[in-house]
Symmetry: C2
Subunit: 231 residues, 2 copies
């Protein structure tokens, strides 16, 4: 019923609104939010509509109650825990940002198969042995697992997480893991993202050079198609 895209935008709105509130702003209009995010005002209004929150015509949305509506919608009534598997380069960066930083949602435990890491604490988060996975997940009541290990181990660790009661996985490994359809998976594939940016960067450059050429040579506007981008 509610789409992933909408959830992502609601999370964004919240972050922006929290900032604006500390700056003393009390109300906001759909086109202001839209401009900050480079989207259309109708999109903002539609998303907020789905919350059940109503704005005031000719005046906009009151930030305080809108934030409450978003929190009400996005957040769990209880603080929510996540666990991280793989305390390597990426895992460490994630711990630096998400280990107990927010009360509402945070990484509460980490795991690694490397004995050198087990028992140590990284950015305030303890690293456990893989043998303790199920026990710790149950104890911390975690429902989200973050995979920051190489593709090789990803499927088997994913299976373990699911067995232990995890129902959402954030997967940074390049492998597309298979899970029961009662589990939500998000693949963050930084390599393909990097390649994509590189691809479009090149196209943009070509397009711009083509435009320059056309201007220099004062040709009439030919039927060049513009690039499709997400801006």
């Amino acid at each position: 019923m509610i789409s992933e895209k909408t959830i992502e935008r609601l999370s964004l709105y919240r972050r922006i609104l929290q900032q604006l509130r500390v700056e003393g702003k009390e109300t906001i209009m759909s086109h202001e939010l839209a401009d900050l995010l480079h989207i259309k005002p109708a999109q903002v209004r539609r998303d907020i509509m789905q919350l059940g929150y109503s704005g005031i015509p000719n005046s906009g949305y009151r930030i305080r109650p809108l934030l409450e509506s978003i929190a009400n919608f996005l957040d769990s009534p209880l603080p929510q825990s996540a666990v991280l598997v793989g305390v390597g380069h990426l895992g460490l960066a994630l711990l630096a940002n998400f280990a107990g930083r927010w009360r509402q949602l945070a990484i509460r435990a980490a795991f690694d198969k490397d004995p050198a890491k087990v028992g140590h604490t990284f950015h305030g988060c303890r690293c456990y042995s893989m043998l303790d996975l199920q026990k710790v997940i149950v104890e911390t009541k975690s429902i989200v697992g973050i995979l920051a290990i190489p593709g090789e181990g990803a499927q088997s660790v994913s299976d373990l997480l699911v067995q232990s009661g995890i129902s959402g996985i954030l997967n940074f490994s390049p492998l597309r893991i298979k899970v029961p359809n009662s589990v939500f998976v998000e693949h963050v594939d930084l390599s393909t993202t990097f390649e994509k940016v590189s691809f479009f960067a090149r196209r943009m450059k070509h397009y711009v050079e083509e435009e320059k050429w056309k201007i220099e040579h004062e040709t009439d506007e030919g039927e060049y198609e513009t690039l499709t981008t997400n801006q």
Copy 2:
């Protein structure tokens, strides 16, 4: 004309096919690739069609030439360079993975405003002063910039990158930067992604518990709507 989604999938196909080739596989059929990625075969055929490459009915695609077609389409004829701004927790992880690892596309230089980092080399990549940004970008002919700094500095650094000739930006900061429409931007917003996974994890759990309840109480199948997911 070609969509971002298609580019992402082509990059995925390539990675899988490279692996399969070293395992000795010579041909592949659309449904095999589709199964590995949890998508539909028609999607695979459509994507490959856009490359201009043709498969063989009743036999599939020959992996070697297909890989060549993909490389031809996705890659620059010359090796392509990227620069990273912000050698913090995340920046370091990115350097560990992308600093000169591939010949075709790699991070060739890093920048940080912290004097303690300037002049040092991280994972084989030299960190320069922000003052050298333009010079190094021009020298390395980089067209991609990666932002791994806090939101505060993101807009001004982005402007600098664009001034220096960058035409693609991979932005890890929470700020939605503004760029001319001749520049491609990809926002990787790990906080919102994390919140999204948490949100759907919770819904999944509820949904599953609801199903269990229904089974235990042997009610007739009510009109419960299923969740929309991306699996």
